[in-house]
Amino acid sequence: MTPTGAGLKATIFCILTWVSLTAGDRVYIHPFHLLYHNKSTCAQLENPSVETLPESTFEPVPIQAKTSPVNEKTLHDQLVLAAEKLEDEDRKRAAQVAMIANFVGFRMYKMLNEAGSGASGAILSPPALFGTLVSFYLGSLDPTASQLQTLLDVPVKEGDCTSRLDGHKVLAALRAVQGLLVTQGGSSSQTPLLQSIMVGLFTAPGFRLKHSFVQSLALFTPALFPRSLDLSTDPVLATEKINRFIKAVTGWKMNLPLEGVSTDSTLLFNTYVHFQGTMRGFSQLPGVHEFWVDNSISVSVPMISGTGNFQHWSDAQNNFSVTCVPLGERATLLLIQPHCTSDLDRVEALIFRNDLLTWIENPPPRAIRLTLPQLEIRGSYNLQDLLAEDKLPTLLGAEANLSNIGDTNPRVGEVLNSILLELKAGEEEQPTTSVQQPGSPEALDVTLSSPFLFAIYEQDSGTLHFLGRVNNPQSVV
């Protein structure tokens, strides 16, 4: 399959097309009107049918309470079922949300790099990050709600409910985006892509969550775990308890932060993403192989290799190469490698921007023998840190008005996105009819044995699901 990137280009089509003679002269329809509250939901919001009773709240169960493990197969099947039911308007909403999520994702990826991410690499999930921001939007009141709406690119008109972002529609659209990623048409014999998102809401004892807020989050993922624990006596111990809880519930071997959070925190909002992809026609190479971290240092890592018809091209002007590997029917793994080992930062600054998809060319697929490290990439980032890096330190800080989350305004200690991305060789026999044999003189040999960038892109909605770089695959295995 071929990413077209047309969705991004299409948004330019109306740039500056017309100006009204006077400011109030024309009806302005924001491009994303599908994401606003409509008149009926506004009527409900403005005229509650019940007298203003205090909203029902609950205290989460203690973190040591018995909890059933997450069943990733069940989550996958639910996503596929939902994706198959998408109507036209749902797909349009998904494309709109994807567009904004991509923009916010690139911006925060830049902040992640400027904050000094790990020496081994970096990874960011635009949909998870965007879902987190929208979740906080749903939990906020003004002025924080208006600030978040501005950040999410919906202009706020004072007192006008129909210009308010409907966070429920956005979270549902993000779930549709996940469904489009993992849904395979046709052949059920293919190993599925799996993506699971789990949200942990960790609260201080006595803090009560609103039922309505938690129900809203379920639109984003049903794997939702509100849990209570002592966050103040021993923050490091609290973090250890959380990490043990996550490991027990998910089984995912994630790189979770070890430092404790502020002792006056009453809420931690943590999102965990697990992506599993199988590269068809690839197999594990025996032993370990050399990967050059820089011009003088190499490490030994397990590698996978396969021959297939992939798109591949070199940008001689800017000195990088791109290989596109299909992952299932709609998704593509983009592998971007600079020609010089030390050039990763320059190529990243050049290509990982809002117009990434306009760099994607579309040459005919050719026989490629592709070799790359087996990828098990782990990364974590605190959204509060990224926002602070972008000069917005207070947006989700102590002064934020997040009163729609609980019975009192929470003090948020951490907003974590943790990601585990696994790309493995397929177990199937290599097809012998559709691809040339390994070592065929007509196959181009492409080996990723020095730092490279990657992205996972789904073409129907135009979503970039992951952006990242691999500097040292040994440290991320």
Partner: protein
């Protein structure tokens, strides 16, 4: 990003000897900042443009016969055939901004350093800093401009503005609210409106009107050339005249139908040999700030049916790329003459790609009365037809671009 500042260059070095035959002009000499090449260069080099050839051509544009009878070119960068922008300077010393020269609007605006970080789009554009300019004067009035694709909001300020080597004192917008869509994709920082004073928000006199009132231009016109592809010269705006290098034959003129905008009347739209629309006449705006051709939704659907195009994703029409060579021409009847686009003109195609579906550069745009309904002829049209905007005779001239 850092604001680039243009160093002042001695214009005297570029004068031809005949200038000195006018000693009274010499006495009134003033320093005029010239375009600094590298900031455009870095963008062009990023796209693999051969700088050697461009540099050779650059010198041609910096020659001027005198301080009156000027024809002043502004070089444009072309980004993917959708954004054409050139450089201006604002302030003393000049802060450089990339702007779209937009005949569909009449205000100059650029992002301000007072834009909140909540607007991510401000984080990736050059920002005007008034405290760095000795010629800044406060105004402070609020302003909002609505475009078909979004709105920008901010406040007015006054400062020196230099366009194509001509400096004027200008009231312009400092934008403090810059939406992601479309400005996160914008390679330009702001907009220089080339429309009429009546179109200007806030009662501001447009830049070109200030230039006209200086009486330095050869003619009260400006011309626009949009090149295809991103190679070499992306495009050109000529203040005070036109550039015969970029068109063939003579201009054919169409009078504007209103005295306060670049709007003309179209007497027919044909697909192939059939006239489908506008036989009773339609309002058309010739809009250099628009990427494509826009039509009211109901009209566009008729065209799309005739072309066999399908709607895909967000109001985007596509055709099978293999069918592009056999698609019919589209003709616009302007001033009694047919202006024809072939499929290679109205389909977005990228040489390095082998997509199955090609996007059409035609889109729906519904504008209510009294301003609408209108058609818009944007860059898709201007790439084929070099366009002269004549303020003296209130007409628009078209010639085949080359």
């Amino acid at each position: 990003m850092d604001r680039r500042r243009m160093p002042l260059w001695a214009l005297l070095l570029l004068w031809s000897p005949c200038t000195f035959s006018l000693p009274t002009r010499t006495a009134t000499f003033e320093r005029i900042p010239l375009k600094k090449m590298p900031s455009v260069r870095e963008i062009l080099e990023e796209r693999g443009v051969d700088m050697t050839r461009l540099s050779a051509e650059w010198g041609v544009f910096t020659k001027r016969p005198s301080l009156t009878n000027l024809t002043s070119p502004v070089v444009l960068t072309n980004y993917l055939n959708t954004q054409y922008y050139g450089e201006i300077g604002i302030g003393t010393p000049p802060q450089t901004f990339k702007v779209i020269f937009d005949t569909g609007s009449a205000n100059l605006w650029v992002p301000s350093t007072k834009c909140s970080r909540l607007y991510l789009a401000c984080g990736i554009h050059s920002l005007y800093e008034s405290s760095d300019s000795s010629s800044y004067m406060e105004n402070g009035s609020d302003f909002t401009i609505h475009y078909g694709s979004g709105r920008v909001k901010g406040f007015l300020s006054q400062d020196s503005v230099t366009v194509g080597g001509i400096t004027v004192t200008q009231t312009f917008g400092e934008v403090t609210e810059l939406p992601l869509i479309p400005f996160m994709l914008a390679k330009f920082d702001g907009v220089l409106g080339m429309g009429f004073p009546a179109q200007a928000v806030g009662g501001v006199t447009p830049v070109f009107d200030h230039i006209l009132s200086q009486g330095v231009l050869k003619e009260e016109v400006f011309s626009v050339y949009y090149n295809r592809g991103s190679h070499l010269l992306g495009g050109e705006v000529v203040l005070g005249g036109s550039d015969p290098q970029h068109y063939q034959g003579n201009f054919h003129y169409v009078s504007i139908s209103k005295t306060d905008s670049w709007q003309i009347t179209m007497k027919g739209v044909s697909v192939g040999s059939s006239t489908l629309l506008c036989e009773e006449g339609c309002a058309v705006v010739v809009d250099t700030g628009s990427s494509f051709i826009s039509a009211p939704t109901s009209s566009l659907k008729l065209i799309m049916q005739a072309l066999g195009a399908k709607e895909k994703r967000i109001e985007e029409y596509v055709v099978n790329c293999s069918q592009v060579p056999t698609l019919p021409d589209i003709s616009f009847d302007l001033g009694g003459r047919a202006y024809t686009l072939s499929s290679t003109d109205y389909v977005l195609q990228y040489p390095n790609r082998r997509d199955k579906l090609c996007t059409l550069a035609l889109h729906a745009m519904d504008i209510p009365p009294p301003t609408g309904p209108v058609w818009v002829l944007g860059a898709t049209f201007i790439r084929k037809f070099y366009t002269e905007f004549d303020r003296h005779n209130n007409r628009i001239g078209f010639a085949l671009a080359r």
